[in-house]
């Protein structure tokens, strides 16, 4: 038996491989994932925001829960109330450990009364089994069996309509349906990680290549472009969406307590349904809700003038990041560190320097003036920043049904 390879291509690799002119690959859960296809990623980002983009998200972990106990299992895991989830509805949701700290986040698709698909960033099979004790439920990992493509951008609907028999126009935000795309059986969900109009398409791995070909052929008149992770990272920052391992550490991977966060501390309080059946971590979260959380997760906007001044002091124009920065930098208020920004980047669409930040609750009110550490020519300086609401970018088309 040869040693396993560290990385492998996704079911789309036969197509994405030759397209990746940049040779710019990264790893995503053991798979090759293009950082950018073209030598620079700017056009890929613009395709997401002004035309349509195709993003291979196959490396997501995917699980199918079915059988009489499926709903109960889902309800035990996620913080949202699955009893109220309609068939064809998708939940974005975190899930927690017993202490109410977030392990992971993902989407829960209710495909039938007792049929769910759960997507996650981290492997979750064991966690599902541990919580399925005593339940009549089948848990099937379909990470490798199901290929997934995100089709995102303002023109994505028109494009998809041309090649599917499904009522794409009638599919509301965060709903899923079964349909055929160019004859291929697929689930189409009105979801994505860009904060824009868009869909995610789930097909059997064997249908990956025909799906890719059908979409790219239909997409040409709409400016469809394959987009890599650099472009996606910019879009998700504008949308204020969390990234695991960057914006939070999964509770079960945290070596020290301080690294863990509750949903309330991640700005995900809206996903916690304390009335719901007894999900893992509920007691702890109920107690936490009684007292306000110590930390908040917020947007920040860096002040341009202070940035310009910091650079002008060394004789340079402001240097803006072309990609989303993922290193943590300190934030100050009243001369004291009150938090840290985990994702930062320049939004070409909003023409604003944005960030996502963990802030002590007292310094987290929207509008609070902060200072942020900026390194200019190897020297640490302070720029100004303001606490802001997320999402930064929230176009009507994201939710609109025509």
């Amino acid at each position: 038996m040869p040693a396993p390879s560290a990385v492998r291509g996704t079911p789309f690799h036969e197509r994405t491989g030759p397209l990746c002119q940049a040779g710019n690959w990264r790893r995503w859960a053991g798979h090759l994932s293009a950082s950018s296809y073209e030598p620079t990623h700017e056009h890929e980002y613009q395709a997401i925001r002004s035309a349509a983009a195709l993003i291979d998200v196959s490396p997501l972990h995917k699980y199918r829960l079915s059988g009489p106990g499926a709903a109960t299992l889902a309800n035990r895991i996620v913080t949202r109330d699955v009893d109220r989830q309609e068939i064809g509805q998708v939940y974005y949701t975190p899930w927690c450990d017993a202490a109410g700290k977030v392990r992971d986040d993902g989407t829960l698709h209710r495909l039938g009364a007792s049929d769910f698909r759960l997507t996650s960033a981290e492997p979750t099979l064991k966690w599902l089994h541990e919580n399925a004790r005593g339940l009549d439920v089948e848990i099937e990992e379909e990470t490798e069996q199901v290929a997934a493509l995100a089709l995102q951008g303002p023109r994505s609907r028109e494009l998809l309509e041309r090649i599917t028999d499904g009522d794409v126009a009638g599919l509301p935000y965060f709903r899923v349906m079964s349909a055929r795309i160019a004859g291929i059986a697929a689930e189409i969900s009105r979801t994505g990680y860009t904060g824009d109009l868009g869909y995610e398409i789930w097909v059997g791995a064997a249908d990956a290549i025909p799906l890719w070909d059908a979409l790219t052929a239909a997409g040409a008149p709409f400016g469809l472009a394959p987009a890599g992770m650099l472009a996606l990272d910019m879009a998700r920052l504008e949308a204020g969406l969390l990234l695991v391992d960057v914006d939070f550490v999964p509770a079960h991977r945290a070596i020290i307590e301080d690294r863990k966060s509750s949903p309330y501390e991640l700005g995900l309080g809206w996903t916690v349904s304390l009335e719901a059946s007894n999900f893992v971590g509920r007691a702890a979260l109920r107690a936490e809700r009684a007292r306000p959380p110590a930390w908040r997760f917020r947007g920040i906007v860096l002040d341009w003038e202070s940035l310009e001044a910091a650079y002008a002091a060394v004789g340079l124009p402001p240097q803006l990041p072309g990609t989303t920065l993922r290193d943590s930098v300190p934030l100050y208020a009243g001369g004291r560190q009150v938090g840290y920004a985990t994702s930062r980047g320049w939004s070409p669409t909003l023409k604003t320097y944005l960030g996502l930040a963990h802030l002590e609750a007292e310094s987290a009110a929207v509008g609070t003036e902060l200072e942020i550490e900026v390194t200019v020519e190897h020297r640490r300086r302070r720029g100004r920043a303001t606490v802001a609401k997320t999402p930064f970018f929230d176009p009507e088309r994201k939710r609109a049904t025509p």
Partner: protein
């Protein structure tokens, strides 16, 4: 006259500069109205759907130096401005090859290396030098030109600031700066490069909007503009406006309205009204009068001083200077609707190159010859062209699968022999299509619609005197404290309360907006002073 026609400020002309001016004044609380002659605002920055489904950036087609501070101050992103990247420039060559400059450094280097290994290296050295110089000179874009002969305190401060900014330059850099101000683009580039298509394509930026050839002195300076754009690079103020260049104007108009400004289209200003050397309002061509203590002209200097005012009201030397101001149009524009993507024989098939620009500038001689054709009252038989296909990056500009092509053309004389007529316009359009067809074999058969603009059309339709795209050439003798005339380069005029804010003022030309903004800041400064009781 009704009280509703009383304003604090009237802006004549709803070009992007007029709109920016209005937005800043309204933001400061002034009751402001913009009066635009046409049925839509934007002037030379408009998008029009002349043929159903096909949107043309009728005149200007890329956003070049739009000031980031304006985008921020007026929150243009929130008002709908999105700028998409314009990443490459391809120069197709008659022998079927091409020279390409791309967004990626290595890709550019490889392409240049094919033509000249030395140039590939020189290109980087050149870029470093130009970036440094652009950084030294760029503050000019944000300041009111001082009066160097009778400097006031603020003028001295400005000069000092500029001096300080340039002080970091070493000898080589300083010399280069001086050369850029005096030499021709072709001569300057000869000092650096050997590849003719490279030099020709780079020098083209220096001839745009001028009635000069690449070998005419004074054309080198505009080379700096490109690198000023680089400095704003990641800010991404250089590229395609999504929805066409009209979206620049629309977003500014939307911002101005959000601050309370009123915008009236179909309102042609006949004259600026004055009393005792002060502006009191304007009268429209239908006789309607509007009053305001502040009147701002966003139209070109010839119209401002020789049209809106009675030259009698102005000092004779100013009138003379404005009469001499070089505003000869030399450019045309052809907009095409295409049934399919153009296929360049040098780079067949669809690809990222179609999202960039194509420059028909195979050699310096080619450009100079194109100029020769126009010098004596004609148009170039084989013109210089700057081509973009906006629907390639912004598919909303055309129906699915179809395309729009924007072709900026030089040269065409404004005062063409015998005058422009329909036949000459079509002949000019044919010269463009014929020349381009040599590089794009499928072009002719894919043309669904064609719009041709001659310099005369630009005057008649867009209101640009003599069809000059920049309200006056961007040559050193017409820049900074010369723009449009010494002593009146600070947006004021001899008529108190009457200001200028169009491209004919510093820094002028292009969809840059600095003139509109700087004029507004000066006006607000005067108003504050007046309130404090100073003259």
């Amino acid at each position: 006259m009704s009280a509703t026609n009383a304003y604090d400020a009237i802006i004549v002309g709803g070009g992007h500069n007029g709109l920016i001016n209005a937005a800043y004044l309204a933001r400061a609380g002034l009751r402001t109205v913009v009066l635009e002659r046409r049925h839509l605002v934007g002037g030379a920055a408009v998008t029009e759907e002349i043929f159903p489904g096909f949107k043309y950036s009728v005149a200007s087609y890329v956003v070049s130096l739009l000031r980031p501070e304006i985008i921020r101050d007026l929150r243009l992103a929130r008002h709908g401005l999105e700028i998409l990247p314009l990443e490459s420039t391809i120069t197709p060559l008659p022998n079927g090859d091409y020279l390409g400059r791309w967004a990626d450094h290595d890709q550019t280097r490889r392409d240049l290396y094919r033509h000249s290994p030395k140039d590939a290296e020189a290109y980087d050295d050149f870029a470093t030098l130009m970036y440094r110089l652009a950084w030294a000179v760029k503050p000019l874009l944000g300041i009111v030109p001082p009066d160097p002969l009778s400097p006031g305190l603020r003028d001295l401060k400005t000069l000092l600031m500029l001096g300080r900014h340039a002080r970091g330059l070493d000898e080589q850099q300083f010399h280069a700066l001086f050369k850029l101000g005096t030499m021709s683009a072709a001569d300057y580039l000869d000092e650096w490069f050997e590849s003719d298509p490279l030099k020709a394509t780079m020098s083209a930026s220096g001839i745009i909007g001028t009635f000069l050839g690449p070998r005419s002195p004074g054309t080198a300076y505009v080379l700096l503009h490109h690198y000023m754009g680089e400095i704003d690079g990641v800010f991404r103020a250089w590229g395609f406006a999504r929805g066409g260049n009209g979206m620049v104007s629309e977003s500014i108009a939307s911002s101005a309205r959000s601050h309370g400004a009123e915008i009236r289209t179909g309102a042609t200003v006949e004259r600026v009204l004055t009393a005792n050397g002060r502006a009191t309002g304007v009268v429209l061509d239908d006789g309607e009068e509007l009053t305001a203590k502040t009147v701002v002209s966003g139209v070109d200097p010839k119209r401002t001083f020789l049209g809106l005012l009675d030259p009698e009201e102005l000092p004779e030397d100013l009138v003379e200077a404005i009469r001499r101001f070089r505003i000869r149009g030399s450019s045309g524009k052809v907009n095409l609707s295409l049934s399919e993507a153009p296929e360049f024989s040098c780079l067949p098939g669809e690809g990222p190159h179609l999202r960039g620009a194509f420059s028909i500038s195979p050699s310096t001689d080619y450009l100079e010859r194109a100029y020769d054709d126009a010098k004596y009252g004609g148009f170039s038989r084989r013109p210089y062209m700057d081509i973009v296909i906006p629907s390639m990056i912004d598919p909303g500009m055309a129906p699915p699968g179809r395309h729009v092509m924007s072709i900026f053309v030089q040269y065409a004389a404004f005062d063409i022999e015998g005058g422009w007529d329909d036949a000459k316009r079509e002949a000019f359009g044919d010269a463009v299509v014929d020349t381009l067809s040599e590089y794009v074999p499928n072009l002719r058969d894919s043309i669904l619609h064609r719009q041709v603009l001659t310099p005369l059309d630009m005057q008649e339709q867009l209101g640009l005197t003599e069809g000059n795209i920049f309200h006056g050439e961007l040559t050193p003798q017409q820049l900074f404290f010369f723009r449009p005339s010494p002593a009146w380069a600070d947006y004021r005029t001899p008529v108190r309360g009457f200001y200028q804010c169009g491209s004919g003022t510093h820094p002028g030309g292009g969809v840059c907006g600095a003139s509109g903004r700087l004029a507004a800041l000066e006006i607000l400064r005067d108003l504050r002073r007046r309130r404090r009781g100073r003259p």
